[in-house]
Amino acid sequence: MRDWMKMAGIRSSDITDQRVFNRRRQLLQASVAAGVTGLIATPSLAQSADNGVALEGPIVKSPFSTDDELSSKETITTYNNFYELGTDKGDPAKYADRLKTEPWSVTVDGECANPGVYTLEDILKPEAIEERIYRMRCVEAWSMVIPWNGFSLGNLIKRMEPNSKAKYVAFETVVQDDLPGVQRNVLEWPYREGLRMDEAMHPLAMLSIGLYGEQLLGQNGAPLRLVVPWKYGYKSIKSVVRISFVEEQPETSWNLSAPKEYGFYSNVNPDRSHPRWSQSKERRLSGDTGGLAALFSSKTDTQFMNGYGEEVASLYAGMDLQEFH
């Protein structure tokens, strides 16, 4: 009731015509009676993305892209888990403007030849930006298809020249004290994640700076984030400020918060049940799922490794995937 009123301007392409939008707004305003609001857990009504900032330069299409139906930009930018910005799905979009993304630098340290503080420009300069349409599977049993823009994480790692002691790569998200979720200590901040070195070097693992040809918005982990499509979404750490090359398996935030539920590897595995959600099926939020029809959408079967099994199975040959989850 409060926040969609602040929505700005004309929205892009397939999203609601302004007149319809205003009519809907009036309808909702008229219907909310005084005594009602105390009972409702008022949803963070979705704020849609305005036209974002277009990425400069050519974008190369990648052979890794799937031809699954894309999720709409509205879906991708209004349904997020980014607890530093709040724990409701609409909160990250609502509070995205509090995330300070300029200037941005990433500290690289640990077992490597080229540690240092790198600006975003340093990181991006030698890279050719690709479009990679990946499936993203959340542990909560919903999924999206997202046209990320970025490059292989392995490219950056090679430039940093990790030495033989570097068995894992650890990542950290920015911590800004004025963000609503940070003040509440919902998770132990900074948000941490990690990959085994061979996982990090796999060509599918990418660093993303945009989606749909536009710069990442705060809610999607601006300005730089990881995307590891064969793992549950929480491994794809957002707003990265630190990359460390380490010898020991690093701590990861969800594992710290609930070790029985969230393991280190977090590979998408329909055969490994989760205490909260069966992982055998998922609800795919592709196309435009904001309408009435979405109520009747079926769940689809979850694929092993989120459908990237052929590409990554060799990383886990011989590993007991029930134990190492």
């Binding site: 969609w4 609601t16 809907r24 309808l27 909702l28 219907s31 909310v32 009676a33 005594g35 009602v36 105390g38 009972l39 409702i40 857990a41 949803p43 009504l45 979705a46 999720s71 709409s72 509205e74 879906t75 209004t78 349904y79 607890y83 724990t87 799905k89 609409g90 909560e140 919903w142 509440r184 919902v186 998770l187 918060s257 049940s273 205490p275 909260r276 069966s278 055998s280 099926k281 609800r283 939020l285 799922t289 904001g290 309408g291 009435l292 979405a294 109520l295 009747f296 959408s297 079926s298 769940k299």
Partner: protein
């Protein structure tokens, strides 16, 4: 102002406040304001409404004692039935829309996920309470009616446990409900012990 005057307005007013969220949800749904995962959003919101109304209805008896007035009791059946109404919506959405009537999936949830079992217990307990909520039923059952309706405490506890167990990361809201429930129980307990 004589007491009876404002009490005439009380029930219709509370009725509208309790029904309002339902209308708001329906309108939100029809105007696409529930986000890209409306099933999830509706499940969440109907559940929250059910538990809030259940706790409010549990607070009415203590309120009657504190105010030394019976008007809260007049609202108890209505609010209890509204809690059941939203619980029904919540369960129907889970069974019919989320799980799409997949009995195997529902059975797996019930047997492997304790928080779902807790929620189911809460709902099942509310059913006979809703059915026997009428004055006619109270007359027919006599003393047994009171014993039966004491089961509402179990429903309240099971509902709160359901929510506490399902909460991921952010435990504030479920813990608030837990505290409220414990306060309501201890108030009754203290009163019983005093007598």
């Amino acid at each position: 102002m004589p007491a009876f005057r404002w009490q005439v307005l009380l029930k219709p007013l509370v009725f509208s406040c309790a029904l309002g969220p339902f209308i708001y949800l329906v309108l939100s749904l029809l105007t696409g304001q529930l986000g890209p995962n409306p099933i999830d959003s509706l499940t969440d919101q109907t559940g929250t409404l059910a538990i809030r109304l259940l706790l409010i209805s549990l607070a009415l008896t203590p309120l009657r004692w504190i105010l030394k007035n019976t008007w809260p009791i007049r609202l108890r059946r209505m609010l209890g039935l509204f809690a059941f109404f939203y619980a029904m919506l919540h369960v129907s959405i889970y069974v019919g829309l989320d799980q799409q009537m997949d009995i195997g999936a529902i059975w797996e949830d019930l047997s492997e996920r304790p928080y779902i079992l807790a929620g189911t217990v809460a709902f099942l307990v509310l059913i006979p309470l809703a059915i026997t909520s009428t004055r006619g039923m109270a007359r027919r059952l006599g003393k047994r009616w009171l014993s039966l309706h004491r089961f509402v405490y179990i429903a309240g506890a099971a509902a709160v446990i359901h929510y506490v167990w399902l909460a991921k990361g952010d435990l504030i809201e479920p813990l608030v409900y837990l505290v409220v429930l414990l306060l309501l129980f201890s108030y009754r307990l203290v009163r019983i012990m005093r007598q």
